[in-house]
């Protein structure tokens, strides 16, 4: 998802630069037409999509407020008239709050007609958490999910890898409880999923 987001931003930038040159006068007209059809007035399609991504990057995860829904990798697609999201865990109660928060942010930014759609497939995975998101988790005191085949968990407080699991289930479905044997601090691990 993060890769998709970055790719669509890149291509939109490339297109808007192209649209600004004299060689492609028709392109900008097309953008305006499709944007009008999509319901975002006064903006070209790509500008609208860029704006929407910017709005979404300000929507915090309700349970881990240091990372945004974009960092978390649950925003799957953005078009001028639709934001597609996917739940993390099947029964995560934050899912409904997230949808409400996104709705409020879109309304406040002037996009009341942009729909929110939820898709289940393909299922969300922690691989979709952005590198920036992982760094923010660590700074917040939550060990980010391990990469595939990575066994050691580093203590987010002191960086030691002398850590152990206390319980596989934590305060939310996505976290496990761990403890550091060096600094003796307990901490949450974002589970690989």
């Amino acid at each position: 998802m993060v890769a998709l987001g970055a790719a669509s931003l890149r291509s939109s930038r490339a297109k808007s630069e192209g649209a600004g040159t004299e060689s492609e006068p028709r392109a900008s007209t097309e953008f305006i037409q499709s944007a009008a059809a999509g319901g975002v007035e006064g903006l070209g399609t790509n500008e609208a999509v860029d704006h929407l991504w910017a709005v979404l990057r300000e929507v915090a995860d309700p349970e881990i407020p240091v990372i945004s829904v974009v960092d978390l990798g649950i925003v799957r697609e953005v078009t001028p008239d639709r934001v597609t999201v996917t739940p993390t865990y099947t029964g995560c109660p934050a899912t409904q709050v997230i949808e409400r928060d996104i709705r409020a942010a879109l309304d406040a930014a002037g996009y009341p007609r942009v729909r929110i759609e939820t898709v289940l497939s393909p299922p969300w995975t922690t691989d979709w958490i952005s590198e920036a998101g992982k760094a923010k988790l660590r700074a917040y005191g939550i060990a980010p999910p391990r990469g595939r085949g990575e066994r050691a968990v580093e203590c987010p407080q002191c960086g030691s890898s002398q850590t152990e699991e206390i319980s596989r289930f934590g305060s939310t479905p996505c976290k496990a409880q761990w403890r550091c044997r060096d600094c003796l601090e307990p901490f949450d691990l974002f589970k690989c999923h």
């Binding site: 739940p87 865990y89 099947t90 029964g91 995560c92 109660p93 289940l120 497939s121 393909p122 299922p123 969300w124 206390i166 319980s167 596989r168 289930f169 934590g170 305060s171 479905p173 409880q177 999923h193």
Partner: protein, 281 residues
């Protein structure tokens, strides 16, 4: 507020054709959506009822970590139930959503297996139930990932990762208690003895299950019975426990025949929305 949907002329006509079998609301095998609705209730009700059972532990578990584990598993299960029952309501097409199906049906309309409605008992009995169920549910969902029904396949693909945790956690407790003190071992043995007679129902392939498997929507439980038996035997061996003797299997949950425990569970679970039908947060 009635707990059943109103009886329409079509229902009465169907009842006449079916004669005196007493099951005019039984699925019509020739009608795919009718069978699919029943099958979705089975999937959703299993998760809903076990999720509610686990919720009963909240604040009572042996330690705070275990309390969180049980609540988390319950949450996963209720998440599954929400997807399956909401979808069941759409397939049924009579305006019922997941909440309506969860809170405004009576015992006879529930299609869960007997295993999940069994009382929590002590912690060992709860873990015995969880292990026997989650081991089965994980294999089931692994098969349902290939379902022709897109929503069933998507929920299964998502939930199977969560159920893997349930299976692992409960297997670890079966081993730890079975291989623990005389007291913990005796309790785990009792828990398994209680739950064992409800296992055959998980693999019962009645007309609805067969129809769904043939149509590529449901799973053929017989296909993963050997995997299930192997897994259970291996965990029991690590726990130093023998499998209980096979008893007369208890069947019928899939057709609405339940024990006395389910009604009590529903009374607690359904009280609020039935007493205050328009209550919102």
């Amino acid at each position: 507020m009635p707990s059943l949907p109103p009886i329409r002329p079509e229902d009465e006509a169907a009842a006449r054709v079916r004669g005196d079998t007493g099951a005019f609301d039984a699925p019509v095998l020739e009608d795919e959506d009718s069978v699919r609705f029943d099958y979705l209730l089975r999937l959703g009700d299993d998760s809903l009822i076990l999720g509610q059972r686990l919720g009963e532990w909240c604040g009572h578990a042996p330690s705070v970590e275990v309390d969180l584990s049980l609540a988390n598993m319950g949450l996963d299960l209720i998440g599954q139930a929400t997807f399956f029952l909401d979808y069941a309501g759409k397939v049924e097409g009579r305006g019922r959503d997941g909440d309506r199906l969860a809170f405004h049906r009576d015992v006879l309309d529930f299609r869960n297996c007997w295993l999940v409605e069994q009382p929590n008992g002590d912690f060992a009995q709860t873990m015995a139930r969880q292990f026997l169920f989650s081991t089965w549910q994980k294999l089931l969902f692994e098969h349902l990932v290939g379902s022709r029904d897109e929503l069933i396949a998507a929920v299964a693909a998502k939930a199977v990762k969560e159920v893997a945790y349930h299976e692992e956690l409960s297997a670890e407790w079966v081993i730890r208690l079975g291989d623990g003190t005389d007291e913990s071992r005796a309790r785990m043995k009792e828990g398994l003895d209680w739950m064992w007679r409800f296992v055959p129902e998980l693999f019962e392939m009645d007309e609805v299950a067969q129809e769904m498997a043939q149509r590529g929507i449901g799973a053929d439980a017989a296909a993963f019975r050997p995997d299930y038996d192997r897994k259970v035997q291996s965990v029991l061996a690590q726990a130093g426990l023998e499998a209980p003797n096979d008893q007369r299997p208890i069947l019928g949950g899939r057709r609405g025949h339940h024990g006395e425990h389910l009604g009590h569970l529903l009374a607690v679970m359904q009280f609020l929305p039935r007493t205050y039908p328009d209550a919102t947060w």
